[in-house]
């Protein structure tokens, strides 16, 4: 039986290839490619119109979650259709994992302490990424750099999730 995967909302690409190359070069990467990673967005708090004040972007294999402090875009399908490497989380993280991830975010910033997770269904979101590769065949050792395609910041907290999804992708029959 084939698993039915949700169509994710796409977060916008804000870092073009040249900017990404410049940042990746600073981080020591020699080769790079674009990718999108599917995360699960959980609603946080309420704004004046009772909409979610922000979203917690989770992946069951990530060390930490990401915070999206605004409303999610309604649809940006065109942004990710050209991305050849789509890393899709097969299952949303369990409630325990989400609670733990949110706990760490609250611990990291006191202003989040009073904000609560809302009990609404999570939504699939595609986060644009630039993946940089450090190392060479001659050295026999490679390293991965994960750069956000939205902010341009390195995202070491997502590295484990990206590696996991790359492994899943490689294990899938062609």
């Amino acid at each position: 039986m084939h698993e039915v995967r949700p169509i994710p909302l796409s977060l916008p690409w804000r870092l073009d290839e040249n900017m990404a190359m410049s940042r990746l070069r600073r981080l020591g990467a020699e080769t790079f490619e674009e990718a999108s990673l599917m995360l699960w967005a959980h609603a946080l708090g309420r704004d004046a119109h009772d909409n979610p004040a922000g979203w917690l972007l989770c992946h069951s294999r990530a060390r930490r979650a990401l915070l999206w402090p605004q409303s999610l875009p309604q649809a940006h399908q065109a942004d990710t259709t050209t991305v050849s490497l789509r890393l899709a989380a097969s299952l949303p993280p369990s409630a325990d994992v989400v609670s733990r991830l949110w706990f760490w975010e609250r611990m990291a910033a006191r202003r989040h302490w009073r904000v609560a997770l809302r009990e609404v269904p999570s939504r699939a979101v595609a986060l644009p990424l630039w993946l940089g590769y450090i190392g060479a065949r001659a050295e026999g050792r490679y390293r991965l750099v994960v750069l956000s395609g939205v902010s341009g910041e390195p995202l070491p907290v997502l590295k484990r999730a990206v590696l996991w999804e790359l492994g899943q992708l490689a294990a899938m029959p062609a």
Partner: protein, 547 residues
Amino acid sequence: MGDGDVSEFTWLDSVVLVVYILLVALIGARFGRSQASTQDYFLGGRRIPSWAIGLSVMATQASAITFIGAPGWGFEGGLERLVTFLNVPLAMAVLIFLLVPVFHRAGIYSIYELLERRFGPATRSVSAGLFLVARGLATGVVLYAPALVLSVVTGWSVNLTIVVMAVLAVSYTVLGGISAVIWTDVIQMFVLWLGALVSMGLMVASLPGGWSDVFAFGASQGMFNTFDLSLDPSVTYSLWAGLFGGIFLHIAYFGTDQSQIQRVLTSPDVPQGQRSLLIGGYLLVPQMLLFLFIGVMLATYYDQHGLAAPDNLNELFPHYVVSAFPPGLAGLVIAGVFAAAMSSLDSALNSLSAVSVRDFYTRYVRPDASEAHYLKASRWATVFWGLYATIFAFFAGNLGPVIEAVNRIGSWFYGALLGTFLLAILSHRTNARGALSGLVLGMVAVWCVESFFEISWLYNNLVGVVVSLGVGYLVSLTAPAPSAAQLSDVVIEETAPDMQALLATRAGNARTVTAEARVTHRRCLGLVAWFCVLVAGLALLQVWANA
């Protein structure tokens, strides 16, 4: 030029010196206008090119302590102390290969931040605190040495010249931050080299036989004997002490001293940071050779003119400059001394401020303040450390030969600190308990060795590194291994063979970023080759001198 041509520090000399001071102050003020954040103040917005950083590192090393102290060394012992610096190319290769990529990719302001991520807050606070103590004391000495020169030149009291110099250095460092530090260093680098070369030219011209007199006198006095192959560990400047002890001294100095490594963090990317160290790797030994050679030339000059050397050899070179140089040129050379002093002071003050604010103020005093507040605090911290160095400089005259005093202060701490950084990067089993134990016992071991054994002080850093590595690892076994999160800056999860194969495939099919980053190995090999060339050249000189 003979004794009858004795000149004083004339109005023309004063004009040259004042013009130089104004130039430095103007450059500092220019950089002050464009600073809006602590990243601008401490890291120059990470926009500074590698060649400027490299020249700045060179200028700081050719500090007034070298400018004044090294000719005294050369006068007294010829080139024997060059072995202390001979290892610099190898030390730079280690930095380029091991430390710079980790520090730069971590995106940190203070290198001690890395220790917190790896070992926790206590290790960071202790290490940063040790740096503040050691560098703070050394900065006092750095201030004292050029003040001594100005005192000789002007006839003012040493304490007055200390205050004058401190006010100037603090002013432009407060205004311009690390950008002013680096760009003024670039200018100062050329001024101090010009001063040194002019001195050499004038000295040679004043000797009847020119260069042949220098080489004949140096060879007859055994001043070109760089290598002492004695295996006795109590011989201070043996080749082995210089190689095995000195290399750890310089890895620690250039790699774990915030005042040095902070400049490498201002580069836009890892390759540029590595490239900046190449300049020092290739040129620092020739630079030290230049200043030691000035000492040999002074010895020849004093011998031929039947002059008696001053009791304090630190005054040797300035005495000569003031008494023998024509008006204007003395001002230029003293500007060179001044340049050297400023280049060391400014970087020390900026790094002390960086560590005070980043490692203590933002963590314990005002964790939630605005960026503008931290920038203001950073400037006040620079003023504070300027005052601290000034007060310490008042007492630095009792610390013996200036250059050794600075290195000795550092060698109590830096070996153990380097050991802690090596544990953080190389060992995945080490934890906070081990790191702190290694750090403390490493320092205790250095103190014990220095107090109870007769061995060269150059071995101090080696002792500190070995003890902190050994103790750190063994004590770590008594506590749980660090978590993956703690290792994330130094250990990459993708080291598993299957993941390596996967990444190899993806990297092979991905687009190329640049060919620039692939030259690290070639850079390191170049430095090793340069080290071999230097050793061979000095050995040939020694063989020739003794033939």
